[in-house]
């Protein structure tokens, strides 16, 4: 038999006992549907996290802090070091995590680490309010990620870090609140920022809105360019004693944007030797991804278990059809059909059943998933702009097909080789 004849005959045979084929296809359908959906969930969430990483962090920036010596549960408290700076609560790491304050000398030391091109203290500015044209004053928090950030902008073109002008990018939630008609209308407008200094005096600083930023996974603070940050910081520390102005929670260090993962790791190692800890944005958000990947892996495992169960269904179906067609097999062998072709005939039938199951499973998953995903994006998940919770990637759908058809083929080997080995005369004498 020609290969095309094998395929058409196998397809024809699978439709001969329609109910049995339908039930087997149904079992595969469940597995394929689940697998397609869980894969889509993984792709959707990870893609979202990826865009978040690019929107939040420049790839050439890392956050450097000075951790207190690791005090594990078994260690006693660390001895007092009079030269160490004061401890500062930080929102990095588990609650209660403290870091040692960085001094200007530390910043210089970080600058000296091989591979680091520049280091700036991360100053925290706490403005009181933001206001536009007497439309009321609203609280404002400035995102600490200002340095080297690429922002996911809904409007505007973002700011120029080297510009001497005071520029600010506001989150979308400020558009209505401050009284702007649209996001685009807000761009180019001048807003007033109020900041109170150490002696209780309020300073007003004007800044130009250069962009409107989509909400992100890590907070909805505004972003300011270096000039504005410095102006706000200077205003806020007016009247402070010189000593306390040199305490920083962390520093932003820059390195070569083309650095490979190994090179970045080497920089981190050198920082760690010097008593600092460096974390890139990818590190911080990467943990999300490993959690997501872990969950998807477990879900996929369930789907694969369903598919293996379906595989036994295929074995059963094929064994029955080999049994039913014993005489037909004998006849074909008597007419000179080779065992290999008989094997191909039955395994093709199984692979076809697998194909049907995965085609229907993936098709229904895509149809249902796309609807569910866009309904969720409008409703429940609307706070996370750009998140398509189920994203169907062609490669992962192709791999579902390959996996299901592979399982079907494996399942077919037992019945098909049984059919292939049958002696023609035993099959013909079979009652």
């Amino acid at each position: 038999m020609r290969t095309t004849d094998i395929v058409t005959t196998a397809i024809g045979n699978s439709f001969r006992s329609r109910l049995r084929t339908t039930l087997t296809v149904l079992a595969i359908f469940i597995g394929a549907f689940t697998l397609t959906t869980t894969n889509a969930l993984g792709t959707g969430v990870n893609e979202y996290i990826d865009t978040q990483i690019t929107s939040i962090g420049a790839p050439d920036v890392m956050n450097v802090s000075k951790p207190t010596l690791a005090s594990g549960a078994d260690d006693g408290p660390a001895p007092y070091d009079p030269d160490a700076g004061s401890e500062i609560d930080t929102n990095a790491g588990p609650p209660g995590t403290t870091v040692l304050a960085l001094s200007d000398a530390d910043i210089d030391e970080i600058r000296g680490v091989d591979g680091i091109t520049d280091a700036q203290p991360l100053v925290s500015v706490r403005p009181d309010f933001v206001e536009w044209q007497d439309n009321g004053r609203f609280q404002l928090s400035i995102s600490p990620f200002s340095a080297g950030v690429t922002l996911d902008l809904a409007a505007g073109s973002g700011f120029d870090q080297s510009s001497a002008k005071f520029e600010i990018v506001l989150p979308t939630s400020y558009v209505d609140t401050l009284g702007f008609a649209t996001e685009t209308a807000a761009v180019g407008e001048s807003v007033q920022i109020g900041v109170t200094d150490a002696v209780g005096e309020q300073h007003l600083i004007d800044a130009t809105v250069v962009g409107i930023q989509n909400p992100t996974l890590v907070g909805t603070g505004a972003s300011t360019n270096t000039a504005l940050t410095t102006a706000l910081f200077d205003a806020q520390r007016t009247g402070l004693p010189e000593q306390s102005t040199t305490d920083y929670t962390s520093a932003t260090a820059r390195f070569d944007a083309d650095a490979s993962d190994e090179e970045i790791q080497a920089i981190k190692d050198r920082l760690s030797d010097a008593g600092f800890a460096g974390t890139t944005v990818a590190d911080q958000i990467g943990t999300f991804q490993s959690v997501v990947d872990g969950i998807i892996l477990v879900l996929n495992a369930f789907a694969v278990i369903a598919l293996i169960a379906a595989g036994f269904g295929i074995i059963n179906t094929l064994l029955m059809s080999v049994q039913e067609r014993t005489r037909e097999i004998g006849l074909m062998k008597a007419m000179g059909m080779s065992g290999a072709r008989i094997f191909a005939l039955f395994s093709t039938e199984a692979v076809f059943i697998g194909f049907l199951g995965s085609a229907i499973g993936a098709g229904v998953a895509i149809a249902v998933g796309s609807v569910v995903s866009s309904v969720l994006a409008e409703g429940f998940l609307s706070g996370l702009a750009g998140l398509q919770i189920l994203t169907f990637a062609p490669a992962s759908i192709a791999s579902v097909f390959a996996l299901v058809m592979g399982i079907a083929f494996l399942a077919s080997t037992l019945p098909a080789s049984r059919a292939a080995r049958q002696s023609p005369i035993d099959s013909l004498r079979y009652e």
């Binding site: 020609r2 004849d5 000179g336 080779s338 023609p424």
Partner: protein, 245 residues
Amino acid sequence: MSSSVLTARNLSKHYGTGDARFDALRGIDLDIREGESVAIVGKSGSGKSTLMHILALLDSPSSGELEIVGQNAKALKGRALNTLRNATFGFVFQQFFLNSHATVLENVILPLKIARLGSRERKAKALETLALVELTEKASSKAMDLSGGQKQRVVIARALVGDPRIIFADEPTGNLDSATGAVIENLLFSLNRDRGITLVIVTHDDDLAARADRRIYLKDGRLVGEGDLKSQASPATTPNGATLA
């Protein structure tokens, strides 16, 4: 004088071992010449089907030598064996073995499909063969919707479609009434006469056996006599005058 297509020497076949051992064939010597029609006759259980299956290479003998179209049966394996089965032999089994859900045409096409013929060519050939057994108008009927005699003609068309040199027929008229049986008989013998196809027919029908060139009598797995029609006084009786194209 035509050459021998089938030569068997001291063929034996037994099933089982020890106490359960059963000798189905015991030392069969046989020569079948090209273009000959041979009837294998004997009571039920005498080993007729077993002998036919061995001669047709569907089964292997326990001992003895078999030569088919000049080739030693033991040496025939794999592809050579499959090609021989497909191109040289045509089978009519004791049961119809038709795929009842497939059409008549599809059933007849099967050997050509196995022979890897192109779909146009095989369809033309199958229709030609169906015309020969006068079933052209049933080509697209389902095999299960045919009468017994029609089914047997489909089976013969299937045996014939690959232009075989030898047709093995096991009780080709066994399931049919005598009138229908006669139609089948005429069909087979006309193929033998017109196309020179060697016929090996297993039967316990004396009338059918009488029409063959030669009869081989089997009893308990042994050859108990041969009759050569042409050397005998009484000519073949023709049960009725029905003939086929």
